[in-house]
């Protein structure tokens, strides 16, 4: 049996086993009749039923739009500031202490004030997602620009390439895989915060649906919605991993070695 086949068979077996375990624990096992803990079959029945509900699709669409809008803004901000700090000594000296201080601050600290000012709106969700997602974009861009291979850079200088060409063709291109990694992480942070804002404030989207289901005590619905959130998260992270993988293959540190 090939390695890939073995892997997928085992993977499917793992999923099935865990579902059986979940069903056993909640039906006849030690966790049966726990208030708030639905059975596996109950959750999936609910998830399937929910698929026919246009409200679910509009909530998913809202969350996706909020996530992508926030990702776009956060990427522009993070990459922009990252490039400025990476290229210019003055910018990096001026901004470094601020970045060091603000990066570990949980963005959720801003949430109550932002909620007070903006109300539970999509814009609030976008704002929260932006302030969360811009950090990985910024940090990875910085790592990419600062990590340019010195030998390559020296060689380019020795060939007296024009500075602009060096910056775009060498520095930016070799930073590209890092920037892609930053965007991938930023995408999952943006989704996290888009949903979190909904749960915490009732801003529109999947988070709000989960909040309402919890307030109604409908635990099967909460779990069913969590399944949809997981599918959305998986889809987003797979899409961006693929882009990242492509860029790393084409421009990453091993690309030249593989090509030669």
């Amino acid at each position: 049996m090939s390695r890939a086949m073995r892997k997928s068979i085992l993977g499917v077996a793992g999923v099935v086993l865990s579902l059986v375990l979940w069903q056993y624990l909640t039906v006849g096992g030690p966790l049966a009749q726990t208030p708030g803990l639905p059975t596996a079959s109950g959750t999936f029945e609910r998830a399937v039923k929910q698929a026919g509900d246009p409200e679910l699709w509009s909530a998913l669409a809202t969350t996706l739009v909020v996530t992508l809008a926030a990702l776009l803004i956060a990427s522009l901000l993070g990459i922009g500031v990252g490039l400025l700090m990476g290229y210019s000594k003055i910018f990096s000296t001026a901004l470094d202490p601020l970045v060091q201080f603000l990066r570990p601050v949980p963005p959720v600290a801003l949430l109550p004030v932002a909620l007070l000012v903006m109300g539970p709106t999509s814009n609030l969700a976008i704002l929260m997602a932006v302030v969360t997602a811009m950090w990985p974009a910024l940090v990875q861009t910085l790592v990419g620009v600062r990590g340019v291979d010195n030998v390559t850079l020296d060689a380019a200088r020795a060939m007296v390439l024009p500075p602009l060409l060096i910056q775009t063709r060498i520095v930016l291109l070799s930073a590209l895989p890092h920037i892609a990694t930053g965007i991938r992480i930023a995408a999952s942070y943006a989704l996290l915060m888009a949903i979190a804002t909904g749960i915490l404030t009732g801003a529109p989207g999947l988070g709000r649906s989960i909040l309402f289901a919890q307030q109604a005590g409908d635990s099967a619905l909460v779990f069913a919605l969590a399944v949809y959130a997981g599918i959305l998260g998986l889809a987003i992270s797979q899409a961006f991993s693929r882009i990242e993988g492509r860029l790393t293959r084409d421009y990453g540190p091993t690309a030249e070695a593989a090509a030669s």
């Binding site: 993977g11 001026a94 601020l98 600290a109 007070l116 000012v117 969590a226 959130a229």
Partner: protein, 257 residues
Amino acid sequence: MSRLGRVLLGSLIPIVVLVIYAFATRSGLDPYYPSMASISSRFSELWLFERVGSDVWPSMRNLAFGYLVAIAVGVPVGLLLGMVVWLHDLLAPLIDFARSVPAIIFIPPLILVLGIGDVSKVLIIALGAGFPLLITTIDGVRKTDRALLDVARAIRLSRRRTIWNIVLPGAAPSIMGGAQTGLQVGFFLLIASEMVGASSGIGYLMMRAQASFDSPTLWAGIVLLSLMGFVLNLLFLAVRNRIIHWHLAMRAVSGSR
């Protein structure tokens, strides 16, 4: 640039922002943006040290417990999954799916099942902080240098010594990356869970203040959480640098990266 010049340049933006804020809010009449004097007096009323015992200390204890559980479960399970290929293949799709579900989603069901007490908070923090640790441990273990493992086998190093002296040190830098992310996620989940359901804690106080338009408390909360996030990260870096000082030294020698 001289050291003094760097310090001056680095403090320029924060000072400008603070001065603009102070100037714009000097009347103290804006309901959303209170004056700095009222923020700082509220900060000292609440957080020096009136409510530290009732609302900061219990939260920090929950964070510490949850984080320790995350390390105690995430790293050993990660080691196991990193070394036993069939077990990894069995659980990989599940882990991929679970890590794609934003951890905050588990707060409502956990509150339904366990109530709003400390247990549900410790569990949610452990869950959220555990995944980055688990994933980076698996990743670090699977990237162990094959040659070193061959050498270990050749000199008949015991399994325990192989893990302790080769696998773990090799994976340590990767694990530390997950530990840092995990700490941030844990801190976020702590505050978020207090905002959803709690009867004490910083997150709870801030959401209550939000409902009653008490903006000085909100801004004082931002200041407190910023300081706490900053200090937590400093503590983490101090511990990390002690544990993987050899790795950092090696990196410094081999140049940038």
